[in-house]
Amino acid sequence: MCIDCGCAPADHHHSAPHTKGGAKTISIEEDILAKNNRLAVANRALFADKGIFTLNLVSSPGSGKTTLLEKTLADLKSEIDFAVLEGDQQTANDAERIAATGVPVHQINTGAGCHLDAHMVGHGLAHFSLDKLQMLMIENVGNLVCPASFDLGEDFKVSLLSVTEGEDKPLKYPQMFRASEIMLINKVDLLPYVRFDVAKCREYAERVHPGIKIFEVSCYTGEGLDQWYGWLKEQVARKGK
């Protein structure tokens, strides 16, 4: 356990125990994710202090997170100083793809872990020089369940959904779409070949998360990416330096 990142157990004040027979009941009322949440708060404070806009990209495996990053970095790296944290259970393939763009990247191998947590991200930050950094992209482990519960200190979670996955994903994974301020519908170049009802998808997402911001994009043809880029630049300017 590392003391320097504040992950040592903190003191907690429990209410007086009530005795009941021989045994006594201790009231705890502690959030199970309290430790992660404390570390996320610390990351968020650091991002605010350094003016770093941070996104946490989540999706099923194969929706196009790494491809979206490659494309976004290639197109915007002359305007924005980026860094990328890559969460992956085993391989470093994604990190190598990002490294090829010339943007600083650090790989976090989660092993059996199915999500990144705030502790891993805090340590991952040590690999970048934060003073110049304007935008941190975090590619989470491909999984639409677990990452929903783990705040990393990001400004926003961004859910990717590709048109080969079915328009009802927001209803099947409501926690994730509720936790995400942004949804990207990716691979719209494939719409002529698959049954995917974009209007329905938007309606479902809006139901589980009223006001969710939606972009329709293709990382292959570049369709819709201008709106996405415009939004990123706005956010960086708002947060920024």
Binding site: H14, K24, I26, I28, E29, S149, L171
Partner: protein, 113 residues
């Protein structure tokens, strides 16, 4: 698996509390888990048994109290149980709502000697 990390946190908090209370034995640990928290009770029970082996928690019971989700309508402020994610406001049929509870994951209490 997601429930494993959650269970490790539960075990950590419970053992820390037990040590603070100089507990000799732990009978049970009670959680409050929202119906929308995204954890599966059976998986939690399974992980709990595995994670509590050879600790003071071994043999203790994990009690999971489910907290039903409730929402408040953004249009007319009616509060209603969110049994289904497509549920709409019973008063005005709006689907826009804010969640009041249902995503919590808390250790509520434990019973010790």
């Amino acid at each position: 698996m997601h429930e494993l990390g959650i269970t490790q946190s539960i075990v950590e908090i419970a053992l820390r509390t037990a040590a603070g209370q100089q507990a000799q034995k732990i009978h049970s640990v009670t959680l409050e888990v929202g119906s929308l928290a995204g954890v599966v009770s059976d998986a939690l029970q399974f992980c709990y048994e595995a994670c509590s082996k050879e600790t003071l928690l071994e043999g203790s019971r994990l009690i999971i109290d489910e907290v039903p989700a409730r929402a408040r309508c953004r249009d007319c402020a009616t509060e209603y149980p969110l049994t289904d994610l497509l549920a709409c406001c019973p008063a005005c049929e709006s689907v826009a709502s804010d969640l009041l509870c249902g995503e919590e994951m808390r250790i509520k209490e434990m019973e010790i000697d």
